[in-house]
Symmetry: C2
Subunit: 289 residues, 2 copies
Amino acid sequence: MPISDRIEAAIGAALAHASGADAPRLLAGSLGHAVLPGGARIRPTILMSVARACGEDRPALSDAAAAALELIHCASLVHDDLPCFDDADTRRGKPSVHRAYSEPLAVLAGDSLIVLAFDVLTRAGEADAGRALRLMGLLARQTGMPHGICAGQGWESEAKIDLAAYHRAKTGALFVAATQMGAVAAGHEPEPWHDLGALIGEAFQVADDLRDALMDEESLGKPVGQDDLHGRPNAVAELGVEGAVARLGDILAGAIASIPSCPGEAALAAMVRAQAERIVPKLPARTAV
Amino acid sequence: MPISDRIEAAIGAALAHASGADAPRLLAGSLGHAVLPGGARIRPTILMSVARACGEDRPALSDAAAAALELIHCASLVHDDLPCFDDADTRRGKPSVHRAYSEPLAVLAGDSLIVLAFDVLTRAGEADAGRALRLMGLLARQTGMPHGICAGQGWESEAKIDLAAYHRAKTGALFVAATQMGAVAAGHEPEPWHDLGALIGEAFQVADDLRDALMDEESLGKPVGQDDLHGRPNAVAELGVEGAVARLGDILAGAIASIPSCPGEAALAAMVRAQAERIVPKLPARTAV
C-alpha cells in the first residue's frame, strides 16, 4: 500500500475511535474538520519514509506513529488559528475550526487531538510496549515544554526571543519527531536521525517565510502576511527573496547529506528531494530573478 | 512518606522537567501558576490510596500516575476558565492563568500540561513498559474523546445533551481514572475499580452543585453561580438543597460498599469517608434544616 494511503487509513481509524455514536456530535465533527481532508501530510510521510528506509519490521507501529504525529500537527493548527493567536478565518481553503464550529469547540478539538495522538500509540503498543513508549517519549518531547511546538509558540510571548530556540521548537520540533519516530518505529536508535529532521524543519521554515511573503491568500488557503503582522522573525526579511531561496537550497543539500547509512538510503534521499519540490514556492513572475 | 508529600514531589519533578533554564519564561511561569499551590489534590490522593490498598509494589509508577492525573486536571481548569468558556477571573483564590499571564499563554499552558502528563508516564515506564502503557491508555480514555473530560465539556455545545453521558464524562471520568490507574499502577486489573471512581465522581458533582448554589465567591475562590449562568444541569435545581444533600450521602455509602476486596480495603474506606467530609459543603446557617 502506498505511504499516503497508509497515512489516511491510520488517521481515519484514529478519528473513528474518537467519534463513536455516543460522542458529542459537534465536537466529533470538529475533529474531522480539523484533520480531513489533510494538507500535504509532510510530517507523517517523512516518518513513514524513514521507517521504510530503516527496514520497517512493525508496520502497525509506524502507522500509529504517523497518525499520532499528524494529529498533533493538526491540533497545533487549530489552536494557532484561534482569535487570541493568528485569528485566522481560513485554513487549507476552508473555514478554520473556530469559524466553522465555535471557539470553545476549537479549544476542545485541539485538546482532544493531542490526547488522541497518545491514545493511538498506546493502543498500537500492545505488540511492543517498549518501542511504543519510546515513540511517545519522542512525541511528547517535540510537542510540549520546554522544547516542543508549545514552547515554540510560547516564545512569541517573550519580550526577548531566543531566536534559535524559537525556530527549533516552533517548526523544527515536529520534523525531528518525524525522522526520529520513523527510526524508532523500525527498531533503530533515534539520535542519528536528529539532524535530518532538524534540517528539513529549517528548510520548511524558510519555504514558509517565502510563501508568506510572496503569495496571495487564494493560492495559500490561509491569510497571508501573518509573520509581518505579528512581528515574527522571518528569513525573507533577513535575507531578501533571492537570499532566502539560496539558503533553502543549501539547507536541503545538507539534509540529504545527513541521511544516516541504512538499507533504503537512496530512496529516502529521493523522497526528501520530492518533498523539497513541493515546499519550494512557485515564485510569481514579478519576483523572478 | 505521606501521600500528600509524594504527590507534591511528583508534580514538582514534572514541572521542573518542563521548565528548564532554556524554556520560554512566561509559559514556564504559567505552568507553575496553573499547578502550584494545588487545590485538595483529591484525584491523585484517591489514586495513591487505591495503589496502596492494592499492595503498591512500584511506587515510582504510582507517583507518576498521580502527577499525570493532576496535571490533566489542572490543564482542564486552565482551559475551562478561558473567556470562551467560563470567563473566570479567579481560580483557587488567585487570578486565573489567562488573567495572570494572557489568553495565548493559557491556551499553551493547558496544551503543555496535557503533553507533560503523558511525558511523565513515558519516563516512569522504563521499569515496566507494559504497566505504563496501560496507565496511559486509561488516562487517554478518561481525558479525550469520546468519553473523557474533553467530551464532557463538548456536550455543553450540543443543542440536546445526553445528561448521563455528560455527567459521566465531565466529572466522573477523572475519578474513574484515579481508581483504575491506582489499581493498574499496583499491578491489579482496572475493571473492578470502575464503580468506586464513578460513584466518587457522582458525589463530587453533587457536592460541587451544592457549593455552586450556596457559597459566596470569597469562600469558593472562584466565581459562583456558573452553572445557573450557563444553563448547565444541576442536582440542586433538580432535587432542592435537602434532596441533594441526601443524595450525596447515598452515593458515598454506595461508593464505600463498592470497594473491591484488597489488602487495604479498610484503610481505603476510611480515606473515602475523609474525602467525603472535605467535599460536603458546610451549609450556611440560612439553609440549615
